[in-house]
């Protein structure tokens, strides 16, 4: 058991370390790329000299390779974590496990869609975000492997949490695209857009907007499924009430409504583009607040995985 713990910690650290070079190379790519154009979609203005181009392409490939590797190790670590518990279980019992699973999904989704949506430009940010969150997880949230609390022991847990985590990952990617959209949009409005630097290498605002929409359009139904279908079903089994306005539920609902508003905003004249992107970021803020904040702020949440549920004293009037 102890051995497994050590192994786990190592695996988690290892996956961290693996990501460091990714970051480094991704970052190294940036200064190199300045003026030379990005490896995948070079701005037409610059004429890259051969050696730089090659180095850029090399580091891009290396970065990708390392990201894939890191994601693979990450997956192994997740599986190991699940197996280390006794009995073997899904690795979603506490905040630490949610965070490491969530970041894995961000990484995996990024890898899965990078070809289709041409997301290579997102690499440094995605890896940076994943790395930062993993660090937070390891430093502050780490908990040794333990068995699941009784109420969590249900196959609805698996469905509910998997979908919630996937949606969270996709919303996060969409949020990244939206924030880039806002940055780039602002630069363009102010006329400070340059032909070099990171912003110049991300695609046009139209593309960013579309990527963001696609990510959100994927995440929203998944979130609906997680929060408004499997969540209530499971809550009904475990707590006798399918919707009880528990703070976690309230915030999941708020997130849902904000993203619904985002989808509306995209179809409403005057709200397109900038306002929609801002809404997307508000949505992401509520999402992550719910994920992390609620557990610290709220004592009444039945979702506070940290503590065993304590029964609130029932008021029983004596009739005599």
């Amino acid at each position: 058991m102890v051995y497994f713990l050590a192994l786990l910690a190592h695996l988690a650290e290892w996956s961290l370390l693996r990501k460091v070079p990714v970051e480094a190379t991704a970052e190294a790519r940036e200064p190199v790329a300045v003026g030379a154009g990005a490896p995948l979609d070079p701005p037409p203005s610059a004429t890259p000299d051969e050696r730089t181009t090659e180095r850029v392409a090399m580091s891009a490939r290396l970065g990708l390779l390392l990201t894939v590797l890191a994601a693979a190790v990450h997956l192994v670590a997740l599986v190991a974590r699940g197996m280390a518990a006794e009995p073997a279980r899904v690795p979603w019992g506490n905040m630490y496990e949610f965070t490491i699973s969530g970041t894995f999904v961000v990484a995996a989704l990024y890898l899965a869609t990078r070809k289709r949506f041409g997301l290579a430009w997102m690499a440094p940010i995605v890896v940076g975000v994943v790395l930062a969150l993993l660090m937070v997880a390891v430093i502050w949230l780490y908990q040794p492997v333990g068995p699941l609390r009784e109420a969590l022991n249900s196959y609805w847990l698996v469905i509910h949490v998997v979908s919630a985590i996937i949606a969270t990952g996709a919303f996060t990617l969409g949020g990244i695209a939206s924030s880039l959209f806002l940055l780039k949009d602002r630069a363009e409005r102010r006329g400070t857009a340059t032909t070099t630097g990171y912003l110049a290498r991300v695609p046009s605002t139209a593309v960013l907007d579309r990527v963001s929409y696609r990510m959100h359009a994927f995440a929203f139904p998944v979130w609906t499924f997680a929060v408004l279908i499997t969540g209530p079903i499971w809550a009904h089994e475990a707590w006798a009430s399918y919707w009880s306005w528990d703070p976690k539920e309230v915030w999941a609902f708020i997130t849902w409504v904000v993203y619904a508003a985002y989808l509306h905003a995209r179809a409403t004249a005057g709200w397109k583009g900038r306002n929609a992107a801002i809404l997307a970021l508000v949505g992401m803020a509520t999402l992550w607040f719910n994920f992390i904040g609620i557990n610290y702020f709220s004592t009444s949440s039945m979702h506070s995985y940290a503590d065993a549920a304590v029964i609130a004293p029932a008021e029983v009037p004596v009739v005599d």
Partner: protein
């Protein structure tokens, strides 16, 4: 986009701009209605709804956490009346929260009805004729193939049909064009989604209005029959009537918990199980069920859940005359995850004076440097540790009281000789004599209790069906790409032998699609079909 066009007039009110006073009532009504059902209003209402839901997650809610709400009220004396007036302790039942969602629902209905009509027509319409200048569309290509215009048209039609486009029948003057459209179901999905939102709300409201939820603490060995008087707490919906309660009954035969004695989860409880014997109605056959967390017992429309457990020390109090004044298991309420519990015993019949005990129960008592503490929830070494009160325990004035609270206002606390409060620490089997000939207290044994919740939630099937439909509609609405494709052929201008110039353009009507890919794909498919090996130019 049709929906957008339809909403736009509402978003930008009549430019004729008469002053408001000149509107007659009907016009005013129309104006308000149009404003209310506009996209922008829907958007703002959605954001309002999100905002309105926030306070309920910060301030403890009566209906969710009544204990927390009461504590909060005690701590914030000045704010409480204000918050109470604003309904902040019951946000989700308050008038202003209802106002937001009722407005949203009205807006929603006002939105769905005209759109359904609109869609009904649009869904049966033929694709519109091709614009004159296809090259002005954002995604457009133009190329030459070595085939006759008729061949190209025929192939294009076949390819489009295969991709399940609807084609505009060829009409006079349009012989050389193809107009095609697909993705009609998107709008249907969208309508289905919005309609389902209403269905969900109806289901949810039914649960809230017609259902009930009640909790009761039952000792191992105790029985329960489903009627109002048996519940410790009971929350009926506002349209609930007691005759909806089904006449089942059950006994808690036994309750088992497994405790983890090692590993990182040490001290956690695992595998709670309450063995029940139940029958659906008096006179029916008895059946057994092992009630566990996540495995409720369903009887008719009612469901029985295991939601908590704890310990009830069996305590006997004798008066100074040696007569038993109180005896039996007394429910103590867990204060933390280790089942360190709090409770009171009221021996009112004790002579010469009523005796009250208030204190803690340690399932697994240990002491560290003289400080008592509780190791874990398993009752390995149960100890009760209570203070003793006598005299007026507040029951004489006939007010009803919680069995978990001792009214100590007019009572006297017993003290030791050194003046410190008397504390009785009893292990199982111990008896302690009280000073001044008041009597004695015996800790006999420990009985576990379980808290079960019984609920009836009508409409939950409707709500569930509603969300599922909503999800289906949503997926349709988000992933079906409505697009139009136009193609126009002409004899190649450079007079190439039999060559045909093809203009191909596509338009995505949802704004999210990637039409360039559609155009590319179609171009390749047409060329491929015409000349299986030849490259296009």
């Amino acid at each position: 986009m049709s929906t957008d066009q339809q909403q736009r007039p509402a978003a930008a009110p009549d430019p004729g701009s008469r002053r408001a006073g000149e509107l007659d009532a009907r016009e005013l009504g129309r104006y308000v209605w149009r404003q209310l059902t506009s996209m922008r209003t829907a958007l703002v209402l959605l954001l309002l709804l999100a905002l309105a839901a926030v306070p309920g997650s910060i301030i403890p809610q009566e209906s969710v956490d009544s204990f927390g709400a009461r504590q909060w009220k005690e701590q914030h004396e000045t704010l409480t009346p204000i918050y109470e007036r604003l309904g902040l302790f019951d946000v989700y039942g308050s008038a202003w929260f209802a106002a937001v969602y009722v407005l949203l629902m009205v807006s929603l209905v006002g939105c769905i009805l005209p759109r359904t009509k609109h869609y009904w027509r649009a869904a049966r319409a033929v694709p519109p004729r091709a614009p004159r200048h296809l090259d002005r569309l954002p995604d457009h290509t133009s190329y030459v193939v070595a085939a006759t215009p008729e061949q190209v048209l025929e192939t294009a039609r076949a390819e489009l049909r295969r991709r399940r486009y609807r084609l505009r029948p060829a009409q006079d003057g349009e012989e050389l064009t193809v107009s095609a459209e697909r993705g009609y179901l998107r709008e249907a999905g969208n309508l289905l989604f919005h309609l389902s939102v209403i269905v969900v709300l109806v289901g949810f409201a039914m649960g809230g209005l017609l259902g009930y939820k009640g909790g009761v603490i039952l000792l191992e060995g105790q029985g329960f029959s489903n009627n109002l008087t048996q519940y410790d707490d009971f929350v009926p919906g506002s349209l609930f009537t007691a005759d909806e309660m089904e006449p089942f009954s059950f006994d808690v035969d036994r309750f088992d918990v497994e405790w983890l004695t090692e590993g990182p989860g040490q001290g956690q409880a695992q595998g709670f199980e309450a063995g029940l014997t139940y029958r659906t109605a008096p006179g029916e056959q008895y059946r057994t069920y092992d009630l566990r967390v996540n495995h409720p017992l369903r009887i008719g429309d009612s469901e029985v859940f295991l939601v908590g457990h704890g310990y009830a020390p069996v305590i006997t109090v004798r008066g100074g005359d040696g007569e038993v004044a109180y005896s039996g298991p007394t429910v103590f309420l867990p204060q933390d995850a280790s089942f360190f519990s709090f409770g009171v015993v009221k021996a009112l019949a004790a002579e010469p004076q009523a005796i009250g005990l208030e204190g803690f129960f340690y399932p697994f008592f240990a002491s560290l440097d003289g400080e008592p503490f509780n190791v874990m929830g398993d009752d390995q070494n149960p100890v009760v540790s209570v203070n003793v009160y006598t005299g007026d325990l507040g029951l004489e004035d006939g007010e009803s009281q919680s069995v978990y609270i001792l009214d100590k206002e007019d009572a006297t606390q017993l003290e030791r000789e050194d003046g410190r409060p008397l504390r009785l620490d009893l292990a199982v089997g111990d008896t302690v004599e009280l000073p001044d000939g008041l009597g004695s207290v015996t800790f006999e044994s420990v009985t576990p209790w379980v808290r079960v919740q019984v609920s009836q939630t009508p409409g939950k099937g409707i709500a569930l069906g509603g969300v599922v439909l909503a999800l289906v509609g949503l997926c349709g609405s988000l992933f079906i790409r409505p697009r139009r494709v136009w193609l126009r052929v002409a004899a190649a201008p450079d007079g190439e032998d039999g060559g045909t110039r093809v203009d191909l353009a596509a338009l995505d009507r949802s704004g999210g699609g990637d039409t360039a890919a559609v155009v590319d794909d179609l171009r390749l498919a047409i060329v491929e079909a015409l000349h299986p090996t030849q490259e296009d130019r």
